[in-house]
Symmetry: C2
Subunit: 332 residues, 2 copies
Amino acid sequence: MNPSIAKIAEIAGVSTATVSRVINNPEKVTEKTRRRVMQVINEFGYVPNEFARGLRSQKKNMVGMIIPSNKAYFLYFPSFSYFLKGVTETLASEGYYTIISMEESGVDPRTSYKNLISKNLIDGFILLELRENDPRIEYLIDHSINFVTIGRTKKNDSYTYVDLDNSQGAYLATKHLLSLNRSKILFISGEKKDCCCIHRQEGYLRALEESGIIIDNELIVNSDSSEDMSFNIVARALNQTDFDSIFAVSDMAAIGALKALEFFDKKMPVIGFDDIPISRYFKPPLTTVRQPMQEMGKLSADLLIRKLNGEKPKSELVDAELIKRESTLRFL
Amino acid sequence: MNPSIAKIAEIAGVSTATVSRVINNPEKVTEKTRRRVMQVINEFGYVPNEFARGLRSQKKNMVGMIIPSNKAYFLYFPSFSYFLKGVTETLASEGYYTIISMEESGVDPRTSYKNLISKNLIDGFILLELRENDPRIEYLIDHSINFVTIGRTKKNDSYTYVDLDNSQGAYLATKHLLSLNRSKILFISGEKKDCCCIHRQEGYLRALEESGIIIDNELIVNSDSSEDMSFNIVARALNQTDFDSIFAVSDMAAIGALKALEFFDKKMPVIGFDDIPISRYFKPPLTTVRQPMQEMGKLSADLLIRKLNGEKPKSELVDAELIKRESTLRFL
DNA sequence: GATATATATGTAAAGGATTACATTCAAATA
DNA sequence: TATTTGAATGTAATCCTTTACATATATATC
């Protein structure tokens, strides 16, 4: 079907080695022969066979991404798709392909990685939904596989990450609530081991401390970030705890909170995190913290490519943006 | 790193051919040698190198999916992610990998396909967002590349598709409005060439005709399915046209319509299409038509696999489901 | 028991590139 | 002009499988 390098070489009157050089190391070839070979390549529409190339050179031009398949992640997906766009477009521009698969639930999170690695299919990975002590990190380092994570663990000097400055995002959100003269802020966090949540809690605490407010541990609650659990948490808290505003670690949790408030006919400012599309359309529209998803996708792909080229790029922390909407503004 | 087939063969005391048979055609090997070879394979954790395999056998175990990158599609993504889950999990279970990339805007829609095909990287494709006279269909048929489409064109006997029964979905929606004693239904359609829209319009017309209602072409309007355009359409229609309910071709368009109604302080039943997550959370919660996305993903992957195995599977039409919510129920 | 047939296994080519090493050729130096 | 040096090109091995074909072994038939 497609002509092989041998055919191109024959027609151009050179060896296959020279054709290969024209493609991969043009500087090692005379201007004159380069021209001639390129002409034949173009004329015949020759494109190197990726399988042959990958087999011989061990460079596969493939990057893997294994997507968490829990429901929460899916709701979050609209923003995620911008991330995906950033990743795939950047990778494609450097000749890499993106292989995706879904995380299998109920198995060791390393299985999918193991699978792709042992098949010799992948140059590197982009890791999503990082957790403290994530076993994938050690596994990939042990197998000398290149990777970049989205998010970072506490011990983060042994790998390259792209992370939202979650702490700063939470700090902005908390400051915003403080500026509305709310000081008893219920913080609905997520799972304890979730790296994002840890940093967000940090930002929340920092803002409070900065304003000289004494931390009340009663006001910090863990959840699974779901709407339902958040509803229940707020419903219970309304009886048991004294609070005047809510900062939730995800938009869905914030929505659950708003529903609980509405149900019990209470009103107070609520902030979420992520800026999923629902937030804009919810009534009241939800104040939230937005991540530059596409940029993060781009960045992570960039860093990975540089790692694959043997560089040691520095990790990146990107800024969060507070999006103010009715759910807090109506308390101005 | 990973042991090669030669090493396994040596240790098991057989030829590489036999090892290969154990893996690919176990029925051609004695029970006894199969056992022995399998034991060595397991012991050393041998996994065939996909690049070598793909090169030699021309079976690449890769399926490509090129994702529309327009904003509308991204909002729709949460459901799309279920589709993706269906696709990747089904493909993975048969040993296929999923390569994704983003459609480049402003270029021939065939470019990305061309690229992957010429690199000899892909066994087949799943095509999204089909249009009437979609140039990709002819292109792929011409190059004898296997593919399955989501959606179908008018002329659909030359390829295999999975499609929602859009006509039936629209029929259900229209019937529902009729049951609320609304007969002057404004139909906000999408782009004229969009296959979905064509079928949805068909269902709308069928329901009306069945009830003996004379079609008023004034009531059928094309749009880009966006919230804004839909808002404007309804705003204008309120002055110029006589209608008592709205059926929009997408949830975002329905939301635009609801906002326009609210803005002009009018009330009437509105139905959307797709059941994006926003619909459930919008006020009023939106009546809409749901597609079984995960099932469609599964089905399309199934059909593609069967095509790759040389079968000629029949296309599939799946049922739509009407999800009744406040946006119509409050007019009961 | 000899022959024909079927089954299991082995040998080696092929798939299409990259690349270490060898060779050729031209320019630079003495 | 003879010699050295460096750049351009070619030769052939290599990456790791699969598979057509050849051979060996077991089974069935007469």
